[in-house]
Amino acid sequence: MTTKTLIRSLAMAAALAAAPAMAQTPVKIGLVTTLSGPGGYIGADIRDGFQIAIDMEGGRLGGIPVQLLVEDDGFNPGKGKQVVEKFLKTERIKLVTGIVFSNIAGAAVPDVLDEGAIYVSPNAGPSNFAGKECHKNYFVVSWQNDSLHESAGKAVQDLGYKRAFILAPNYQAGRDALTGFKRFFKGEIAGEVYTRLDQTDYAAEMAQIRAANPDVVFQFHPGGLGITFLRQYQQAGLAGAIPMVVAAPSMDLTTMNSVGDSAVGVRLTSHWFHDFDNPTSKKFVEEFQKKFNRLPTFYASQSFDTALAIGAALKGTNGNVNNTDAFRTAMLKAEFQSVRGPFRFGPNQHPIQDWWAGEIVRGPDGKPMMKSGARVMSNHGDAYAADCKL
């Protein structure tokens, strides 16, 4: 026996000896998210939503002590990969979550899966991981990207509009958005415009919208882009004239507060609103407001749900994350109370859930306020599940 193998077997023996105590060592969860750049507030809400779930259980999830490691991906796929690599190899983490943007997920998630670790998405649900390339260790708690826009398309259809002008930035998620919208909107497309991702002035697009004079405008511009778009929509005198329907990412609470008055009247669809009247949601909103002194966005709610889902799986496996098959079985049962109400995983391990309409109205204090409305879709999955063979 060489020295090296001797050391190795000693280490192994030590590890075995420590096994009974393992239940006490916290399970490490790696949360890589976007904390810098214009989308940084989304990452902050995802981090805080997850943390609230842990805090509410006193440092545990599903009764198992957990340790949350948070790192910024810098809104940069390469950086995201690096963080994931560090999580997997240096920290030996088996549970990764947190990514906001589809392009970063596209770059980093394959590395997690290649290492045999588990990824649970609190936000991004790009189409390529939902269909043929679905994976047994890949879960999405939020939504499949398209369904955001499918629900908006359905809502526009239900509202009876005939001609829609649709706009999105020229990148994968933007193109998916318009595809998703068109899947459920059956009327005429009065105009279809791709904007630039770095664009700050939409004057040219406003002129095109006015020239086309549609019944309704659907646009997908998340974060800062959307704020700019909405303000200029009002400035161009279009806000009162042509109604707008958007999906949740184009009108979260942060966007609404930044936009101010021009948000009033905009309709949206989402799977969760902060005024939902179920106990889990109420408790979550209350605790979140108490700790962070602001209302949680739907991003925070998704992350909270993600933490609950992981908690349920941890409980089912008694905190053993090394047996990923057992973990997966426990996870798929989704034995937790979602803030959204009914929730379950579809065959491709993406959510099947309800979608709701909402509207920005003027609140009692005169400021814009987000209000939930009627159900738009029930038990809605996604269009890609059929391609997934698990």
Partner: protein, 304 residues
């Protein structure tokens, strides 16, 4: 046809914003030989100071004053603390040090105001739209920006052609050594020029605030476009900055507005959109390459 007119106005308005940034940048380089990447940060800081003041007081006038003051003061601090040590250095050092400034300012803004974009309301007097032609309403505020731009250009023209400072500026832009030989207090001239450039950048930021969201990184987006303007117009030339800015503004807007539609008449919709979006974002750079091929020193070179 009315759509073309409207897009033309949009292009001019973008050109005016670019001009306010490019004028400062080109003068600072022309007189001091300094390339200042942090010029975009002045734009951002002006916008932030105005946004915060407007949110606190609700007065656009106060916001204007605050924005100008912030950009001016910051400009002076930058000049005094960092750039002053770089006048004698080569451009490389200037680029790197001001690159460091960008990182610092962007993070400082995040630390102070957070990452969430801010927004300024259009002052009530300028809200709404006017009908330029029947059926073509145009936002008053954008017209105001164009007007301010014209005033700034006229003001600069008077300053440069009719005053002693302007005489020195002109002399300095053509021959830096000559100004030194004239025995002028060069420090004062530098401070005046730099302050002026900072104020213009701040003004552009203040004007941009109500149009676009005020957010970290807004300075760099426009800075690179400003570089294109300066290169096309000719370094050190205010006249070049005017023409370069209008050219870039109009070309950029027109390509964006009409190229995809034009391509769609020739090929399938989605391909046309993708190609159109790509070509229109590269358009101004191709324009710059073309200008360089014909006139390597730009359209209106200040140096002989």
């Amino acid at each position: 046809m009315t759509l073309v007119l409207e897009q033309l106005l949009n292009g001019v308005q973008l050109g005016v914003m670019l001009f306010m940034l490019a004028a400062g940048l080109t003068l600072i380089f022309g007189i001091m030989g300094v390339i200042n990447l942090a010029h975009g940060s002045l734009f951002m800081v002006g916008a932030y100071a105005a946004a915060v003041t407007a949110a606190q007081t609700g007065s656009f006038l106060l916001a204007l004053v605050a924005g100008l003051a912030a950009a001016g003061v910051l400009g002076m601090v930058i000049e005094f603390v960092v750039l002053r040590r770089l006048y004698a250095r080569d451009h490389l050092d200037q680029v790197l040090a001001t690159f460091g400034l960008i990182l610092f300012f962007n993070q400082s803004i995040i630390l102070i105001f957070g990452r969430q974009p801010m927004f300024v309301n259009i002052p009530p007097a300028f809200q709404g739209a006017v009908e330029l032609l029947p059926g073509v309403p145009y936002p008053i505020y954008r017209l105001v920006i164009i007007a301010v731009g014209i005033l700034v250009a006229l003001g600069l023209w008077v300053l440069i052609t009719r005053t002693r400072i302007g005489m020195l500026v002109r002399a300095g832009a053509t021959n830096r050594e000559m100004v030194r030989a004239l025995g002028v207090d060069i420090r004062l001239l530098y401070t005046v020029v730099f302050g002026l450039g900072a104020l213009l950048a701040g003004l552009a930021g203040i004007m941009a605030g109500p149009l676009t969201s005020v957010q970290v990184g807004m300075g760099e987006q426009i800075l690179i476009l400003t570089f294109v303007v300066v290169v096309i117009g000719g370094i050190g030339s205010v006249r070049g900055a005017v023409f370069g800015a209008l050219l870039v503004g109009v070309v950029d807007t027109m390509l964006r507005a009409f190229l995809p539609g034009f391509l769609r008449t020739m090929m399938a919709g989605s391909e046309a959109d993708a190609l159109g979006a790509g070509l229109s974002s590269m358009g101004v750079y191709l324009l710059m390459a073309l200008v360089l091929l014909l006139r390597p020193k730009g359209l209106f070179p200040a140096h002989g």
